[in-house]
Symmetry: C2
Subunit: 384 residues, 2 copies
């Protein structure tokens, strides 16, 4: 099928585009290079050097003969969005094209407004473009497990069957997220559900856990196909950051006591989940939610796991938690729908972590250690 990957230059968008191309789909990517601009702004780069988008598309063509189309533009530019959908005429649109870091959204007012503007209004343009041009397009949208927050009840997949005062209904699962970024995803969820209801669109919302790992079978074919590997306190996801800290002899920075629990997923499972969602589309009018994670661990357990796997001394440092979140909480998540459709999860293993140690050692000279420590505090509202 024809699949358009929005945010196709990013950490997960790029490996997803390759994976879909490898599995016989006709793929195009779109990007506005916002993620590369954040690097300039924050003064930090991917640990692993990445090629320009067009260069890596050319490498993929050279190695496999498969062509990946390329659109450069911004979803908040409605005309660009309409023209892209009208030109490529996808069967499915995979939507990674959002600002994805909670700390980035909490830097100050300007970054909070930017995040909600970019994510919510860009997606709104996309919904209109699909509805007007071809309402049969399947939207595969990246949400986040962080949308749910940490309720004291089991987390279901997007919807909740409830009984209240003797009556029953199936409702949108109540959300109470922990940053203006996570809130932007909640806003998207509500907008997309409504679009499915009024325009008979079809959408799959993938509430993804924290992704770890850096290589997929496709990206590891050639170092010029590498995807980003972020280690900084703003964009680095927790496990990846701990691996890098271990390698460079920096303490693993656990926020608070580390009792806060996260859903996790291996990058190889991410690309497979997207493939599964595309190849098994939602029905017309259906707003479907999958929890895209394979296991849960507390931050402390993640740190201990990395420390155990590392062949050398590792210290763990408990920093005051810059986020506002429950230090210990119930966390029981249903995540069966992707498995029912064929996902065979890679659970976190020492082998995976060891491979990350190798990558990290090779590029350790590129680490700016000061970028590992959190500078964004949830409790301090700042203008700007």
């Amino acid at each position: 099928m024809k699949i358009l990957v929005l945010g196709g230059d990013g950490y997960l968008g790029w490996p997803t585009a390759l994976h879909l191309s490898e599995h016989g789909h006709e793929v195009a990517v779109a990007d506005n290079f916002a993620r590369r601009h954040y690097d300039d702004e924050l003064g930090v780069e991917s640990l692993v050097p990445i090629e320009p988008l067009r260069a890596r598309i050319a490498v993929w063509k050279e190695l496999t003969g498969s062509r990946i189309g390329c659109y450069i533009g911004d979803l908040t530019d409605a005309l660009f969005t309409y023209r892209m959908i009208g030109d490529f005429r996808p069967d499915a649109v995979v939507h990674f094209a959002e600002q994805r870091a909670a700390p980035y959204s909490m830097i100050d007012r300007g970054h909070a407004v930017y995040t909600q503007h970019n994510n919510v209004l860009g997606t709104l343009n996309l919904l209109y473009a699909i509805a007007e041009i071809d309402p049969s397009v399947h939207l595969v949208k990246l949400g986040t497990m962080g949308e749910y927050g940490t309720p004291n009840i089991d987390i279901e997949e997007g919807w909740l069957d409830i009984e209240h005062n003797g009556r029953r209904d199936r409702v949108m699962y109540p959300k109470r997220p922990g940053s203006f970024y996570h809130l932007s995803k909640v806003h998207d969820t509500h907008n997309i559900e409504f679009a499915c209801r009024i325009w008979d669109l079809r959408a799959t919302d993938l509430n993804q856990g924290v992704v770890y790992g850096q290589q997929t079978p496709e990206t590891s074919r050639d170092e010029r196909l590498a995807t980003r590997f972020d280690y900084d306190a703003v964009f680095g996801t927790v496990l990846n950051r701990f691996v890098i800290q271990a390698v460079i002899g920096h303490p693993l920075t656990v926020y608070g006591s580390g009792g806060q629990t996260r859903g996790l997923i291996d990058i190889r499972d991410t690309v497979r989940c997207i493939q599964i969602a595309c190849e098994n589309p939602a029905n017309r009018g259906e707003f479907r939610v999958f929890n895209q994670m394979t296991e849960s661990m507390s931050v402390r357990e993640i740190a201990d796991t990395v420390a155990r796997a590392f062949p050398g001394d590792v210290t763990i440092e408990n920093l005051e938690n810059p986020r506002v979140e429950a230090p210990e909480h119930y966390y029981n998540v249903r995540h069966t729908k992707l498995v029912e459709l064929g996902l065979e999860p890679h659970l976190l293993s020492d082998t995976l972590i060891e491979s990350l140690f190798e990558i990290t050692k090779r590029y350790a000279h590129r680490v700016r250690p000061e970028a590992l420590r959190p500078t964004v505090n949830w409790r301090t509202p700042a203008s700007g």
Copy 2:
């Protein structure tokens, strides 16, 4: 106390400002005149002529000796918002400054994006300004009963105590609203609840029903103090629109069978509810929700009530419903918190409706009948 009324030039913002001033508060209003611009855009005006904002502020001063401060600007302009909060230093901010019409938000892509941009990002700037300048400010925010949609269970006041798989929690009441406008209020709700949680702000979210009526004790003192009275299919609320249709001999335009049910409130109760909320502030860190409505009626019942009260012939015309909504549904809303704080509701009566007939007759020559019929259709996504 010092109270800043945002959107103080609008249908409800203006009578609220007068009511608060009358009851001894030091009031300032802020407006960007967006509502007057929508009139220009849509080619329709308030049935009752309204004075320029500064002129009616001068009339109020002349009649009562009370001064109302005035800020002209836009909440999406962060610098304006910060300067206004820093200059006036309110105890409470009453926030009416949002695009408030569901049909307006559904005109096309541009109006949907405008509505969510204006409402959500303006409110985000306001939250930052309060958090940075004075986190003790009580935010009194206008939400809408439309945020809830029409669940098959009782509608509670913002929060829901649930039991699921043997565990309990108090969660945000699940929302499933029916337009991009209503969605913007849901997004606000989530953003404000988060701001209360991380910055210890205090907020009251007033989920208001459909307001009817045009006069309050304060606005009726002088015709130059009149507030807007909208009758068009975009901005006219349902009961007000039916009254005007009855007077000019136009059929009452019921969408579908009219089985859809709305929460209603008299404009005199609206201004009193705002006063009650301001004078009984939420606690620091508290996100409090009141359902600001006093009774429920189906659209068919509202039409029948207007027809019964009108001294002459009235016909009712059932149009194809331009909205996507359940034609018949369960609707049982808890709305006790404002009553517990002292609200004495005015229920819909023939007297009220008769007073509206009088106002309407006086200005019936200003009606553009073609503006009474719906032109915005929920099912048709349009660019623009």
